[in-house]
Symmetry: C2
Subunit: 356 residues, 2 copies
């Protein structure tokens, strides 16, 4: 086999400029610029002439150079802590599609759970991102202040910050957890337990509080408790401890689906079938797989991502308004991993749900 | 509750410059630049002085502006087709971490399976990315040529291109599939079937050819066949058709794990237990979950991502060398979803494997 031809130099000798394209198309340079700006006003005929000339000359608008003029990079930084959790992979996918529709691209930052993310976020700002989305990543008040000073909108998803200068879009942690408590009680469970995520995460704290408060209102004592730290292996270990107890729980509410999958495996493989009802929170993709079938309270991706985009746009266009802080309601989806009450089951979009 | 204070203007009145930092730190402007360039030579004392002055002034180097001078953006474009497939989510995570270690960040592009990706890739080039990684996304020869002209290295992962100007890092599609054929034969299976992915994807074609060729060498006729298009729902439907046949298969090799999870669900929930052995390809995270347990041939992420980074660096630093085209070997991991031969099972890194 012959060696492929030597690669050309890293950049072409002289790249075509907007000026070259304008001359060839017989239009103004500003028309060329508008033709390549999403949403800018330009006639179809002009756009076609510009695109034809650009193709002939191999012209490609330099978004990076443009960002120095417009002070917009068309880039949104997205920090995600858990890509091994399928809920966040799906969230990232949906975010990428939604932001693309607004003319933005995602610059990805992976953070390690529990680690201090300030150094990473500092770096994000050096890329002059137009905005920042933090998915299950904490926001220090110091960094929140820096972002405000730099004029970079920040939206938290599935995490609430104490600092009310940042927008937060969350699922219905308290309401969903209370519904799960009523569901387990109505299903005849006597010894419910809670499998906590990271102790300092607002998601885990709010879900636990909603669950325990509702159980108390129903006359139960404080639920049994173990901590899985939102980690698969540690959730397996915590489930083993709970199910090996002298008086094991008969129901286990896991603070997210990812830990629910771990609990299901331990219950089914190590404790003979499913001696305990398992309920998750998220409706991550695999929860709906027939081979798994995890009953769970959903955090609906589409509406959540829509609200994230709305929150970003609002901060960009109306920085004087208070940032959006919204709770998106979900539904309790019945997939077979928990014993069900006789009443209250209905169908919604082809899924069996429990409304209490 | 009182309204939060009005947000400041989008950009501060006058941002601190490298010049301001140099003056305050009492060093040259070039020392400031070196202090913020990963890998650049600068003494620890100078770096500390610069960082202190930068912090005091709120200075943040503008990577975007720098990229116009260095002609490097420190950004690598990554296009992924299937984020709902956990294998690609994990690949993206590992890539992001590995590229970060080389001073790069990931600009994410999500492509739809089977769609023409040229328009998206065109846009990637406008961001002046330093390089492009395509994960299970096809590369047209037209676009490959454009990237060569623009001097942008391209590496394909888990997809092979006809064009030998692009680097390709793949798992051992042919070897792994042949091993699965020997494994199923040794386990006493008589009617093996293949569940194909996208018909035009090199992964599906190479796995099918390796499987069928080895089965023929073992004296089997052509395997039964159905097409799942790498789509969960279509893989479920294809499995239903295969298992409902008058003479159903007794083993099903799925072209990837994601379809394997679909097949497992249909077999277990709709055909009473596991009447058929199911084997996947990838070792996506959930394959190892106790609640699923999918026997599969692995594509080891760490070595694959290491090779991707090596391939990128080689093209950046030695563009005259032929691009890397490498196959990374995996292992057949036994997780219980397929009947096993009596012989040939051993332990490797705590996992049961079959070496044939």
């Amino acid at each position: 086999m012959s060696k492929p031809p030597a690669a050309p130099p890293r950049r072409p000798e002289r790249a075509a400029t907007a000026h070259d394209v304008a001359r060839r198309a017989g239009v103004s340079q500003s028309a060329v610029s508008r033709a390549f700006t999403p949403g800018a006003s330009v006639s179809a005929a002009t756009r076609a002439r510009v695109e034809e000339a650009a193709a002939a000359l191999g012209y490609r608008p330099n978004l990076i150079a443009r960002s120095l003029i417009t002070r917009r990079s068309s880039i949104v930084g997205v920090a995600v802590a858990y890509l091994d959790n399928p809920f966040y992979a799906a969230l990232l996918d949906a975010l990428s599609v939604a932001l693309e529709a607004t003319g933005h691209r995602v610059l990805l930052f992976t953070a390690r759970p529990g680690a201090n993310t300030d150094p990473i976020l500092e770096e994000v700002l050096r890329y002059r991102v137009d905005a920042l989305v933090l998915a299950s990543v904490g926001l220090s008040s110091r960094f929140a202040r820096e972002c405000r000073q730099a004029g970079v909108p920040v939206v938290l998803v599935n995490r609430r910050s104490e600092d009310d200068g940042a927008a937060c879009i969350t699922g219905d942690n308290a309401g969903g957890a209370a519904l799960i408590a009523r569901f387990l009680a109505a299903g005849g469970h006597r010894r419910p337990a809670f499998l906590a995520g990271l102790e300092d995460a607002s998601t885990s704290r709010e879900r636990e509080a909603g669950f325990a408060t509702e159980l108390a209102a129903l006359g139960f004592g404080p639920p049994l408790r173990a901590v899985g730290h939102y980690d698969f292996g540690r959730a397996e270990a915590a489930t083993r401890v709970l199910l090996s107890a002298a008086a094991p729980p008969d129901a286990l509410f896991c603070a997210n689906d990812h830990m629910g999958f771990a609990a299901l495996g331990v219950a089914r493989r190590e404790f003979g079938g499913l001696p305990v009802s398992v309920v998750g929170f998220d409706d991550a993709g695999p929860a709906g797989w027939a081979a798994l079938g995890l009953t769970t309270y959903s955090q609906p991706l589409r509406p959540m991502v829509d609200r994230v985009v709305t929150a970003l746009m609002r901060q960009m266009l109306a920085p004087d308004e208070a940032p959006l802080r919204e709770t998106v309601p979900g539904a309790l989806l019945l997939r077979g991993s928990a014993r069900e009450p006789h009443d209250g089951v209905s169908l919604q979009d082809g899924e069996r749900v429990w409304r209490g």
